[in-house]
Symmetry: C2
């Protein structure tokens, strides 16, 4: 058994892969999701303590958003090699500001001295009708809630020595409000954590459909346009780098006007393609179609 297979086994047994666990409870559903972040793989040199705290809360809240849920509370386990006052104050402020923005509250936690800075946030949420990844049907529209390439651009800015702009991009807004509104319309939904391409493959597999995506319709973050050295890099940043944390969802076409009316202010979204009955994933670029590569961000 190869390591990759072991990882798949483990992922299956821990039910990793869904955005949230769904626990039916007293006529509604509780949502539970946990995310581990740590220094080496998640926080490039230049990430501030405030951004670290923000992002630790945001990744779990984004999973709640992806189910169309609202957060009930968050617990955070913090392992850190340093407990200096400034660092801790800033980290807490980031955690709390992100929670406040989403109407969430930190209700508990655990503290530990750890060789490497490690944060695990776990969010508890609620959804009367959780939106699964498995509900997409052929012919439906495929949409995203916002521009792609956010983390790709931030990583590039960290490299370029522009930590302030990088940090700002890194502090994404979990799409809780958007998810709640879209829950009445979307047939399938998830957040884009491993890149649009990988997320489309995951949605396709869960729903038993394919997708045809129009590259020219993808909303791209201005910073990606600015920073990408060439078309190849632009495409890489938009489709594959990942951690956009925008919502990717499908929508029956007849519900489009109602969805647009309902979410108009809270949540502009962009139609990027259509679900297909075959299992293929096609990318239409400049009038030609190619197969979309199945790869994405490796954590």
């Amino acid at each position: 058994m190869r390591e990759r297979e072991v990882l798949e086994l483990l992922a299956r047994r821990l039910a990793v892969g869904d955005d949230c666990a769904v626990i039916p409870f007293r006529g509604t559903n509780l949502l539970l999701t946990t995310d581990m972040l740590h220094r080496a793989s998640d926080f490039p040199e230049g990430t501030t303590a405030y951004t670290i705290g923000w992002r630790a809360a945001a990744v779990s809240l984004s999973d709640i958003a992806a189910m169309g849920g609202r957060p009930l509370g968050l617990v955070v386990a913090l392992g850190s090699p340093e407990f200096g006052r400034n660092f801790i104050e800033e980290l807490l402020a980031g955690l709390e500001d992100c929670c406040n923005l989403c109407g969430a509250r930190i209700v508990g936690g655990d503290l530990d001295r750890h060789q490497e800075l490690t944060l695990v946030s776990t969010a508890l949420g609620l959804a009367d009708r959780p939106i699964p990844r498995s509900g997409a049907k052929a012919g439906e529209l495929v949409c995203v809630t916002g521009p792609l390439g956010r983390t790709a651009a931030a990583l590039k800015l960290f490299q370029l020595g522009e930590p302030e702009r990088a940090n700002r991009l890194f502090r994404f807004t979990p799409r809780i409000r958007e998810g709640l509104r879209l829950a009445s319309f979307a047939s399938a939904m998830m957040d884009i954590s491993d890149g649009l391409a990988r997320s489309l493959y995951q949605l396709a597999e869960a729903s038993g459909v394919g997708f045809r995506i129009e590259y020219e319709k993808l909303p791209v973050l201005p910073e990606v346009e600015e920073l990408a050295a060439d078309e190849g890099e632009r495409r890489e940043m938009t489709l594959f780098t990942g951690e956009d944390f925008e919502l990717l969802f499908t929508l029956p076409e007849e519900r489009l006007p109602a969805a647009e009316a309902a979410v108009e202010e809270a949540c502009p979204f962009t139609i990027i393609g259509r679900a297909l009955s075959g299992r293929k994933l096609l990318l239409a670029v400049g009038g030609r179609e190619e197969e979309l590569a199945d790869r994405g961000y490796e954590h």
Copy 2:
């Protein structure tokens, strides 16, 4: 501001210190608790992968038990430097067996490559009437659900090169069943994670009472009697080493017969002392009284 003060600030803001967060919800209460364990401080050389998995689930479930709650689900974040098949299979088996024993279920998780083995388990539970730490009243009986010194003895056995016995002791049973039965009787409850002495101080502070504990009445694990080199070490292992994960609770004396009848089979417990109106913590040993030291296990 000294590091200890920073830690206290952080602990307050993250609401660390209660066994669980309590979230009132639709006529009942949801419980949420998270615990971080990692190689350097929690798993001595010789701890098996099975025991590691077991203990990761058990610490969170013990917090649910301490509130008189029942578990609804568990999520586990695993950061590991190794993903060998045997290691992972054993770890999962430990997690799952401990959950099964408690009527709990792993509903989700996260996976990460990490320099140091790090597990964070988060348990969601339910309690119509959560038992706080703050309910103890002067005159009430103080009780524990089982023998003390379990982790102390296990650590000693690891040192002595008896890993099999050590692992067995290390795999404690979270007192879910006992907690559920005691919830009808106990006025205050917590699990003993930092040692009986430290736990008594925490209970005393939360309830605004003191305690008089009779050292001779303490139930002591047979392995402690066997392994303690002298009376000083016996006392250390029983009162201060901690991570016993037994329930410590107070009980109005008039409820004792009913409590004993109700829990007889599921949960023998031992009366170890009485709550006092003053804030002092006394230890009665051999007819003399001394002040109980306020120290315990440092994680």
